[in-house]
């Protein structure tokens, strides 16, 4: 779903071990697919142990900077049909639109608003983007527990100043990400319950911890599929309106 999630599967390539950019390129290569679909369940745990549960269906066509994605909420009933269209670009931030069926309106998500939380979860709108490796600078920080520790700094506009990723050496899956903004550590993302689907290692569970708000969001993947036939014209604003 988000750019970090899509970098989870990796193939062994010891020749790339010491060059962080090449490590990440390998991570991307191992997770590349023509399309993806899954049904996700979100549990948002906020203050006072409050839990909100939402479900959505996610579809993606293409990979990374050449991809488009539609996320459509399916539950609860109050939010069913609300959708988000993400059109990623290889050289700049994505374009995003939200569709609200009850009002019958689409709405562009401004670049300035990408740092806001995504509909009450601990992901931000920016976290839903996929960016190519060329949009970052990387630095290897060392090894830790059988994983490379790599720092990435976005070259273009981002709410984050840098991130630190842990990439497992054996299968090039990303197991943890710490995202920093100008105020310090902003989010911690853990990936677990890895499973191979059509040869791609995928974490079935992703947990995001918002350091400032002290809240968690757990995303669980279900019915995950890769390389299924999806049409390009299903990833447009007009299609969002039609589908509702």
């Amino acid at each position: 779903m988000n750019r970090l999630t899509l970098l989870m599967l990796a193939i062994s390539a010891s020749a790339f071990a010491q060059d962080p950019r090449q490590i990440i390129e390998e991570v991307q290569k191992r997770t590349r697919s023509n399309s993806q679909r899954y049904a996700g369940t979100l549990e948002v745990m906020g203050g006072e142990s409050r839990i909100a549960i939402k479900k959505w269906v996610f579809e993606r066509l293409g990979s990374f900077g050449q991809s488009k994605a539609v996320l459509r909420f399916t539950a609860p009933a109050e939010v069913k049909g609300v959708a988000l269209l993400i059109v990623n670009h290889p050289d700049r931030a994505s374009d995003q639109w939200m569709w609200r069926p009850n009002i019958g309106r689409d709405q562009r998500i401004a670049l300035q608003d990408r740092s806001t939380r995504f509909f009450g979860t601990d992901f931000s709108f920016e976290d839903l983007e996929e960016r190519d490796v060329d949009q970052f600078d990387f630095k290897l920080l060392g090894d830790e527990g059988g994983a490379w520790k790599i720092e990435s700094r976005p070259r273009k506009s981002s709410q984050y100043t840098h991130s630190i990723m842990w990439v497992k050496k054996d299968n090039y899956t990303i197991t943890k990400v710490e995202a920093y903004n100008k105020n310090g550590l902003a989010r911690v993302i853990d990936y677990r319950d890895f499973e191979q689907v059509k040869g791609i290692w995928t974490a079935r569970t992703t947990e995001v911890f918002d350091v400032g708000r002290k809240s968690h969001t757990i995303l669980k993947f279900d019915k995950l599929e890769y390389d299924l036939p999806l049409k390009d014209d299903e990833f447009t604003v007009q299609a969002l309106r039609r589908e509702s």
Binding site: V44, G46, G47, E48, R50, A52, K54, F73, E78, V79, G81, V82, M98, R100, N102, I103, R105, Q107, R108, I109, A110, L111, Q112, D113, T116, R117, F119, G120
Partner: protein
């Protein structure tokens, strides 16, 4: 200080009632001044406070007048690199079952960068903004609003929307403070796109609030935004809003200043009168002081100090009274602004500007000191030898009288000359002042003349009492003239205000006959001036299809900035309007002006717009609009009462092109011959009333509404009239009180030779009514002159419209019994005082 303690204080204590009454004019003048300015400032402060609290971290607001602008401007703004956050806003006030609400429509995704939403309950709604955004019925209200109306999370609030009545759900409650305290807490937040639907805004925003990146100055930000979105938008800090309110409140302030100055002027006469009489009564005392070595300067200072203390006491009382009045006045002004401009002001606190109290004190003190200058001087020049001689010195010296008359003539002549030079504002107001001064200077001589003329009448009514009363007036000009002058000024004010009201109503009626002649009006609110909601233009076709409907005119009225002043732009099919409701031209050819305007080649300007803005026929106007700068010449000037600031009439297509806004505020409907108004009205309601917000007003409904609005405007005028009458009554009481004291010996002699108590009473009553009659005659005469100047002031500086001169005969006729009765009431107390006095003491007096 010693003199004050030994001489002044015993005198004041002895004549305590008179002293208190003397301050009455100061009290009322200061009270009106303080009350009105406090009310004005409080309403403005509440408005600015609301703006500030709603603005949050907003540094720049982008708007394009009332119509707003298309959504696509937002992307242009967001693409400016200097912009950190840009959030669109719709702001509207609605009536709900729970009271008036200021609705803030915002884009919740980005708005939290600008405004702090401090919600209760762990930020429930915005912890899950998806529900808030997904459900268009979502509202966030303030804690104070919720408490007042017993609302909780998930409570429901019905609201009339453009799609009919809808129920809204409270999905969050804001804690007090910050944004939640704007508009007195009567604020609700909803999603902006839901607000567009509710208010019929289509795809338009009212404004965009912007915060800039760190390090970018306001000037840089404004320049970049101007470059990105082009002309036709106001790009300014939030503090620049509110010009329309300030313009209206300035008019109120000016009108109230005139009233308070008049009241103070009248108060000045009362004080002058009292002190002049006091000097006469205390001549012996003054003579003794002078004989013991007191200098003229000391005597003068003594009286001026007495007057200053009197003025100070009156001022302080006036301030207290004014502050007490301010709350009611603020509510009144706020209500009027809501009615006319459609934006509510909540009750709010009263705020007293720091400059106001010192200014009021200065005014009160200056008035009392000026009033006492002449009596103090007279006291200082009292001859000690003559002062110790017994006798009355009531008669005016011929020299003094002659001097006054000469000065009066000089002032009158200069005033007439000034009339010829009325283009110059300073000369005009100087002429006005000179005219009033001439009347005041002539008042004693005219009062004396009228008293002599009234003597036969009074003697005819009651031979003894009437003659005594008239003789008292004739022989006591000093005592009488001040009161007569005060009464004259008060009644002149009443006549001028009454005349203004009468002229306004006459002019308004004529305008309504011509301009408001459709049979039915379809509006979005019961108040036809409210523009919160708008209709889609397509409704016009539906209305035309109703059986009985002959013609439908679409009207869009919006307030836009023209030459930095919010002006009402009225956009309609001018050709159709010209066939049905052609306004009389003030300048220009009637046929030509309407033809050119209908062709989109010009605009019609209202008379008050032309006058207040100094615009002439043929002059090119430039009006900033979202789609560019509209440049059109003024092809005609018409008499139009649509708006106090002025109005421009333009062809609807021109407006749609430049503002990309084809919505409608009002449909004007003319019926087919034979169609019945009530039936067609019901058909419209049956066809559309259930599925959308819609009101159908008859022609009579609208006229009554306009009259009611005008009554509200003049509501404060009636307060001013009451002030004038009250001051006059107090003046009479004061004069009579002095009179009774002055004539104790005379009254004692009258009773000693057989006069009954009732005869004494009648004498006092008739004297009072004589003063009232003289003041009335002079007041009605001066009122005719005062009315001329008031009409001119209204034309020049207040409303810009020539409402015509119409002497309020009915008001004048009504005033006669009122003043005579007031004079009678004023005489009751002094009359009883006169008959209760000891006969022996009275004969020993002096």
């Amino acid at each position: 200080m010693i003199l004050l303690r030994l001489i002044s204080w015993p005198y004041a204590r002895k004549y305590l009632l008179r002293t208190l009454l003397t301050t009455a004019g100061i009290v009322l003048g200061v009270a009106v001044f303080v009350g009105m300015h406090t009310a004005n400032e409080s309403v403005l402060a509440a408005f600015h406070q609301t703006i500030d609290r709603i603005a949050g971290q907003t540094q720049i607001q982008i708007s394009a007048g009332e119509p707003g602008f298309s959504e696509d401007v937002l992307e242009k703004v967001q693409n400016v690199s200097e912009v950190r956050a840009a959030s669109p806003v719709i702001e509207a006030t609605v009536s709900t079952d729970q009271g008036n609400l200021l609705i803030l429509g915002v884009d919740m995704l980005g708005d939290r960068s600008l405004r702090t939403y401090d919600l209760e309950g762990a930020d429930t709604a915005l912890d899950d903004p998806l529900v808030f955004l997904a459900q268009p019925d979502s509202l966030i209200v303030t804690r104070s609003f919720a408490d007042q109306r017993g609302l909780r999370a998930n409570s429901q609030i019905p609201m009339k929307t453009m799609d009919g009545e809808r129920v809204f759900t409270v999905r969050g409650i804001m804690k007090p403070g910050g944004l939640a305290s704007a508009f007195g807490g009567n604020l609700a937040v909803m999603d902006i796109y839901a607000a567009q639907k509710i208010f019929g805004r289509g795809r338009r925003f009212d404004r965009i609030d912007v915060a800039l990146q760190d390090g970018v100055t306001l000037e840089q930000g404004i320049a970049k935004l101007r470059s990105a979105i082009g002309p036709g938008f106001q790009i300014e800090p939030p503090s620049s809003r509110g010009q329309q309110f300030e313009a209206t409140s300035r008019i109120y302030a000016l009108a109230s200043d005139i009233t308070s100055v008049f009241a103070l002027f009248i108060g000045m006469f009362i004080i002058y009168n009292t002190f002049a009489i006091a000097v006469t009564q205390r001549r012996a005392e003054i003579g003794i002081l002078r004989a013991l070595g007191a200098t003229r300067g000391q005597i003068r200072t003594l009286f001026l100090t007495e007057s200053a203390i009197t003025g100070l006491v009156g001022t302080l009382a006036g301030v207290a009274f004014g502050v007490a009045m301010a709350r009611g006045m603020a509510g009144y002004i706020g209500g009027l602004l809501e009615e006319v401009y459609g934006v509510s002001q909540s009750g709010g606190n009263i705020e007293i500007a720091p400059w106001l109290i010192p200014a009021a004190v200065a005014m009160g003190l200056a008035t009392s000191l000026i009033a006492a200058v002449i009596p103090a001087r007279a006291a200082a020049f009292v001859d000690p030898v003559k002062a110790l001689q017994k006798g009355s010195f009531q008669s005016l010296g011929e020299g003094e009288s002659g001097l006054r008359r000469r000065w009066a003539i000089v002032c009158a002549v200069l005033s007439v000359i000034a009339l010829a030079l009325t283009r110059d504002t300073l000369v005009f107001y100087a002429g006005y002042l000179l005219a009033v001064l001439a009347a005041v200077l002539l008042a004693p001589a005219m009062a004396l003349g009228l008293a002599r003329a009234l003597r036969p009448l009074l003697a005819r009514i009651r031979p003894v009492e009437g003659a005594l009363a008239a003789d008292s007036l004739i022989q006591g000009p000093r005592r009488t003239s001040g009161t007569v002058a005060a009464l004259m000024l008060s009644l002149a004010l009443v006549i001028s205000l009454g005349g203004l009201a009468r002229s306004s109503y006459n002019s308004l009626s004529e305008w309504m006959r011509i301009a408001l002649n459709p049979d039915l009006f379809v509006t979005t609110a019961e108040s036809v001036t409210a523009r919160t909601f708008v209709f889609p233009a397509s409704l016009g076709e539906g209305l035309r299809a109703i059986d009985g409907v002959g013609e439908v005119q679409l009207v869009r009225s919006v307030r836009v900035l023209v030459r930095n002043t919010p002006i009402m732009v009225v956009a309609t099919d001018v050709g159709s309007l010209a066939r049905r409701a052609k306004l009389p031209p003030v300048e220009g050819d009637s046929e030509e002006m309407y033809r050119l305007t209908a062709e989109g080649k010009g605009v019609l300007a209202s008379e008050n717009f032309a006058r207040l803005q100094g615009v002439r026929m043929g002059e090119m106007l430039e009006i900033s609009a979202p789609e560019g700068t509209l440049k059109l010449p003024v092809v005609g000037i018409v008499r139009d009462f649509s708006d106090q600031q002025g109005s421009l009439l333009m062809q609807r297509e021109v407006f749609v092109k430049y503002w990309r806004d084809d919505s409608v505020n009002v449909f004007r409907i003319y019926l087919k011959p034979g169609a019945k108004e009530a039936e067609v009205r019901q058909r419209i309601l049956d066809a559309f009333g259930s599925r959308q917000r819609l009101f159908v007003l008859t022609n009579r409904d609208l006229r009554n509404y306009v009259i009611r609005l005008t009554d509200q405007w003049f509501g404060l005028t009636y307060v001013q009239i009451a002030v004038a009458v009250l001051v006059a009554v107090l003046g009479i009481v004061n004069a009579l009180t002095v009179s009774i004291t002055d004539r104790r010996r005379e009254i004692g002699v009258l009773r000693a030779v057989g006069g009954t108590r009732q005869q004494v009473r009648h004498t006092v009553w008739m004297e009072a009514m004589g003063v009232g009659m003289i003041g009335l005659i002079l007041g009605l005469a001066l009122g005719a002159i005062q009315l001329y100047y008031s009409v001119e002031i209204a034309r020049r500086d207040l409303i810009g419209i020539d409402i015509g001169y119409s002497y309020p005969v009915q008001t004048a006729l009504a005033l006669a019994p009122v003043i005579l009765f007031a004079a009678f009431l004023a005489a009751l107390g002094p009359a009883e005082s006169a008959v209760r006095g000891s006969l022996v003491e009275a004969l020993e007096y002096e």
